[in-house]
């Protein structure tokens, strides 16, 4: 019985590589649904990111659709130009204004995960060159969830993890290559 019901991951600059490494090392028996907000070009081809990630992982990666259910073995990605929020075991989409210039916004995803799952959410903040996700990760921690920041030394860009580390103390600062095993232990 897993201690957590959802893993939310936020990534920006350098995120594709980091996501490939993390999702690629998780088996298709990973028991917890995963939802990802990766900053992306709002005009990007919808299928591009999911196509790339599916090549590297046994998990099933798809862009979130309206009310997509969260299911073990599945990874939902925030589509370009939409925020993804979580409620009641499903993804909600919104086209509300970008938050800190980002849509999808990592803060929006993390805050809604904290609202919906409280202490049963794991938040993972990866590489990036802005400050998105720092506030959301604080909210996850406040509600009793588990927080992970990628070790900045292993990030393509360190600004985003460092922004989080400046305002909070996560449960773990983890090197990129060790994140999958760490998630495996948490969600077993």
């Amino acid at each position: 019985m897993s201690g957590y019901d959802v893993v939310v991951i936020g990534a920006s600059w350098g995120g594709l590589h980091a996501l490939e490494r993390i999702l690629g090392a998780l088996g298709d028996d990973f028991p917890t649904p995963i939802v990802v907000a990766q900053h992306r070009d709002p005009d990007a081809d919808d299928e591009l990111l999911t196509g790339l990630l599916n090549r590297h992982t046994a998990l099933c990666v798809a862009d979130a659709e309206d009310k997509s259910p969260l299911e073990p073995g599945n990874v939902l990605i925030a589509p370009p130009g939409y925020h993804v929020l979580l409620d009641d075991g499903a993804a909600e989409l919104s086209v509300d204004e970008p938050v800190q210039f980002a849509r999808p916004s990592i803060d929006v995803l993390f805050e809604s995960a904290a609202d919906a799952y409280g202490g049963r959410a794991v938040g993972v903040l990866l590489t990036g060159a802005n400050e998105d996700g720092a506030h959301g990760l604080c909210v996850i921690a406040e509600r009793g969830g588990y927080t992970i920041v990628q070790d900045p030394a292993t990030c393509v860009r360190q600004e985003m993890p460092k922004a989080a580390l400046a305002v909070m103390e996560p449960d773990a600062v983890v090197r990129l290559d060790d994140i999958p095993a760490h998630l495996g232990r948490l969600c077993r």
């Binding site: 659709e65 589509p79 929020l85 919104s94 086209v95 805050e111 809604s112 609202d115």
Partner: protein
């Protein structure tokens, strides 16, 4: 006619914030007859909190007190809850698909009616009008653009959009298959671009609430993009009933990129364009 969407099927939560949300929505419904009870909760909660912060109250119960006693607060909240952020020719490929797949269908009618449901501030209404004008169809189409909020309809009617967005809209327009010079559709007044009245000369801008009102006409095209994402499943079912009722035989339903026809209605439509979410009503 108000048709309340029951939330009684949901398990009763003891979470104080969830109780506050439900009581606030109930209060709004009873005091002002706007029904947000069937809205998707996560985005709704975000919007309620944004209003609470701007009204300088610390809880949603505090917001309820303000809303009940001050109609101005309700007006501001209504604006927060009804504005759907959009842009002209958002998803250019969608408008290209409209020109390639829907326009030929509309051409088969001597006169067609189009409903832009949840038009918000009108960016999509004007985008569609421009596409139809360039296809030579605008004078054979009557557009109905509806929204629950009279204020945003006022903006839509005015066809006045911020000048700073025109560069982005021009790019979208070109990628959407626009055949002309985008700037010929508007005149500049200060920092606003005022779009030509001729685009909406025959259009009807009217108040209509998808959550509560009934079908009011029969249409050859119903366009409702990125509105239903804000609704919970039971309310989506209601609105899809409304759309089906409002569509002529072989009429087209256009949804947002990440929206779909609800499962219970799938057999009533054929898919006209899977990626651009164009559906055609059977019989």
């Amino acid at each position: 006619m108000a048709v309340p969407i029951s939330t009684s099927a949901l398990p009763q939560s003891t979470d104080p914030e969830q109780i506050e949300v439900e009581l606030l929505l109930e209060a709004i419904y009873r005091r002002y007859h706007y029904d947000f009870r069937g809205y998707a909760r996560a985005s709704l909660r975000r919007r309620l909190w944004r209003r609470a912060q701007q009204e300088r109250v610390r809880t949603l119960s505090g917001l309820q007190e303000r809303v009940l006693h001050d109609p101005m607060v309700m007006e501001r909240l209504l604006r927060d809850l009804s504005i759907n952020v959009t842009e002209m020719f958002r998803d250019p490929a969608f408008f290209r698909a409209v020109r390639e797949r829907v326009v030929p269908i509309l051409r088969t009618y001597p006169y067609a009616r189009v409903w832009n449901a949840g038009c918000s501030t009108g960016e999509e209404t004007f985008s569609l009008a421009i596409a139809l004008a360039e296809e030579g169809l605008l004078d054979r189409v009557r557009m109905y653009a509806t929204d629950m909020n009279e204020d945003v309809l006022g903006v839509a009617r005015s066809g006045s959009f911020p000048m700073e967005r025109m560069r982005r809209y021009t790019e979208n327009y070109q990628r959407a298959g626009g055949t002309g010079d985008f700037s010929r559709y508007y005149t500049v007044q200060g920092d606003r671009a005022i779009f030509s009245r001729s685009l909406v000369e025959g259009a009807v801008f009217a108040q209509h609430n998808l959550a509560q009102d009934s079908s009011f006409n029969e249409f050859q095209l119903v366009m409702c993009r990125n509105v239903l994402i804000y609704f919970g499943r039971p309310l989506q079912e209601r609105v899809h009933d409304l759309f089906l009722e409002s569509l002529a035989r072989f009429g087209v339903l256009a949804l947002g990129h990440k929206e779909s026809v609800v499962a219970s209605h799938e057999d009533r439509y054929e898919v006209l364009d899977a990626a651009e979410k164009l559906y055609r009503r059977k019989r």
